[in-house]
């Protein structure tokens, strides 16, 4: 114990740890009926860390290009615990996106995007989009049958854009068909380009949270300051955050070890697509919207219209801090809540619809 404290003093004199500690103790986190939602950003962050670690581990054996499937097969069946690392990476990817969705909607309904937190909302939205591209590019990397056809179907979305759509799709694919070139460029995107975008953005996002502190929902704001409660960030909130991380780790371990990710058959462009092929769940909503518009309006026009509508909705969602009228007054803006509920129900209904349509 003595030795530990002398090491601490030594480090403190050089790094100013005490200042940091005092700062963390002084920082307070509001505590109220809805404060459970504060953990979801942290949970998303935890899964991102898991992704980074397991991703680097997979990088050690994975070979993009023509060897993609074979190297994934080796990881899954020959390398010790390779199946576990791969499962953890796949599961954590899905859990990360799910956690970000929860985080986003809780921020939305708690109106945490209002002044001065607009940049937090925007950076968060970009982080979500980058994460979805992470998911899309990562899904192809094992180059199994499912990944192959899901990517094929997924790239039909840009393909449906008028005039430039076809060009974009071929450029992304690196050819008219999904092949080893596609894997190679998706790999570059997945392990170099996207992390290079994601990490600085994440830093910005976290810096904003630290700068402005946790937002409180309008219901809490309405209370007189004396009735509002808060707890110190350190150690109280951090302990709870860590406990949440521990729970997240448990859930991940359970899923990854009990429901290991299947490898499936190698991709073969000559084979007919297996029945019920579909993109990952977080793309199912947009997939279904495109399909519906394609059915309602014949020809390429329908899909293009669906795409435009979807993009418009996304832009509206993105710009909510600018036109939510309650931004200054701090009152409840009911219609923004209704818009949020509307968006959430559209997302849920189309996703369920898409899955029901598969059978």
């Amino acid at each position: 114990m003595k030795a530990l404290s002398s090491i601490y003093t030594w480090a403190d004199e050089r790094l100013g740890l005490d200042d940091l500690l005092h700062f963390a103790q002084k920082k307070r986190v509001p505590e109220h009926a809805h404060s459970a939602w504060y953990y979801w950003g942290g949970i998303s962050l935890f899964f991102f860390l898991v992704q980074a670690i397991t991703g680097v581990l997979l990088l050690i054996y994975y070979r993009p290009g023509p060897d993609a499937f074979e190297s994934t097969r080796q990881i899954t069946y020959e390398i010790h615990f390779g199946w576990l690392i791969r499962s953890a990476h796949s599961w954590a990817a899905n859990l990360m996106i799910a956690a970000i969705f929860v985080h986003m909607f809780s921020v939305f309904f708690m109106k945490a995007y209002r002044k001065p937190r607009e940049f937090g909302w925007w950076s968060g939205m970009v982080l979500l989009l980058v994460t979805m591209v992470f998911g899309f590019s990562g899904y192809l990397l094992p180059m199994n049958e499912l990944a192959f056809f899901a990517t094929k179907v997924g790239l039909d979305i840009p393909n449906s854009l008028p005039v430039i759509g076809h060009k974009i799709a071929t450029l992304v694919r690196g050819g008219p068909e999904v092949n080893e070139f596609t894997v190679q460029r998706f790999f570059a995107l997945h392990v170099v380009v996207l992390p290079a975008l994601f990490i600085p953005l994440l830093g910005f996002h976290l810096w904003l949270v630290q700068k402005h502190g946790n937002a409180v929902p309008p219901a809490e704001e309405a209370k007189p300051p004396a009735q509002r409660k808060s707890i110190p960030f350190f150690p109280n909130f951090m302990m709870k955050d860590l406990a949440m991380w521990l729970i997240a780790l448990n859930v991940l371990a359970l899923l990854a070890s009990m429901f290991p990710w299947d490898l499936g058959a190698p991709a073969d462009s000559l084979k007919p697509a297996p029945t019920g092929i579909h993109p990952e769940w977080y793309f199912m909503s947009s997939f279904q919207v495109l399909k519906l518009f394609g059915q309602w309006f014949p020809g390429a026009a329908g899909e293009a219209l669906g795409m435009i509508l979807f993009t418009l909705g996304l832009v509206m969602w993105f710009l909510i801090p600018l036109y939510d009228p309650s931004g200054k007054s701090g009152q409840r803006a009911r219609w923004a809540t209704y818009f949020g509920l509307f968006a959430l129900s559209i997302l849920l209904v189309t996703t369920i619809w898409a899955y029901a349509a598969l059978n």
Binding site: E31, S35, A36, W83, L84, N236, A243, I247
Partner: protein
Amino acid sequence: MNYPFWNVPHIGSGWVIGLIAIFHVMISHFAVGGGLYLPLAERKALREGRQEWLDIIRGHSKFFLVLTGVFGAVSGVGIWFAIGLTNPEATSTLIHNFVFGWAIEWVFFMVELSTAAVYYYTWNRVSAELHLKIGWLYAVASLFTLVIINGILTFMLTPGDAWLAVAGTGHEASRFWQAFFNPTYWPSLFLRMAVCTSLAGIWALVTCSRIDGTQKPKLKTGLVRWSAKWLVPSFVAMPLLLGWYLWQVPESQRALLSFGMTTIGTGAFTQVTRTVLIIVMTSATIVGVVYFFAWRSPTEFSFSHALAVLLLGLVATASGEYSREMLRKPFVIGRHMFSNGVRERDMARFNAEGYLTHSPWITTNAPALARGEIMFRGECMACHTTDGYRPMKRLLAGRDREAIGNLLGMLHDYKPDSPYHAFMPPLVGTKEEIAALGDYLATLSQPAVAPDTAPAKPALARR
């Protein structure tokens, strides 16, 4: 095949029991542990004159009455419906053997439900001493429901030699007590009682989390910490009890734990081993989470924290029940009846006369493929489905008719050194029946276009 087969697509009929049972265990163990928690908390509050505690305990007893009396009771009956449909042969054996056991169980069950209601409705209406006595009566009655049902549950894993000696003679019920106090009875009872105290603490934390920590910090601190302590004894005793339990499990079943580690070189433990590791991990996490959430900062302990602990408890309980079921493989009643309802002593007869021959559920001139499908339903679908849980489509993927025939032949031979001997029942029936089954399975396996490029070990990680 005396009974028709209940076909539940995708999840298989076993999971119907599983889902109801896991839900039921979460509540029934709370009913037993909570039976102890309520009078002990009430006694402590009375002795130390904590009026505020009594109000909370009263609220807790209402929640307790609704949860155990409605959801616990309904799901408990649901289990018996489900097992009767899923495995009628085994259920019939249990009833023939334990009909009086169940009668006793129902007596305690009625007392339990009545006293739970009386306990709640007599708050402040009878004297404190009498009310406390009702609480103790409830505690004893609910404990005895566990004491009784535990005998029947453990019997299925380890019926014991005395009962097995008379199995099939028609005098099984004469070994009632030997079957009841079977080798795993005591370790299982103590293990379950430990789980009961933990769950009582966890559910009490759910109630305590609703107390306003700013208004009544002292009340909340006291109750949260007192409830958190309920987790301590079981987590200290758990490793010992688990060890005792596994020690009483027959060697042949225990081998299922290490089986995967010795045959698969890639570090993929068997399902059951992984599940046991999950139990250990979640149990440790529960202690950590309760320590950080509840003990360290009791006034800030919120409802969602309590739900998180409850979720972990659910994972640990579900894993426990799942691995207990898995440990019994390939039997549904240890060394007597296989998972698919075939009795060990009937093997030779079925092989000679045919599995489908005496079934009233099939016409003798049914086409071969239909007979194959019925064979599949009768002998395989207790554990497998075509496309959902343990799906044949994936497990047999890439195998042609001949490879399937080889595998079936091996299951039929059921040699003691066959590794499937450890966890799969023998395939019984005549040559024609097995051929029909093979033909049917071949329609499921859909031989891959290029079998050479198919992954070499499709089933490895999932066993």
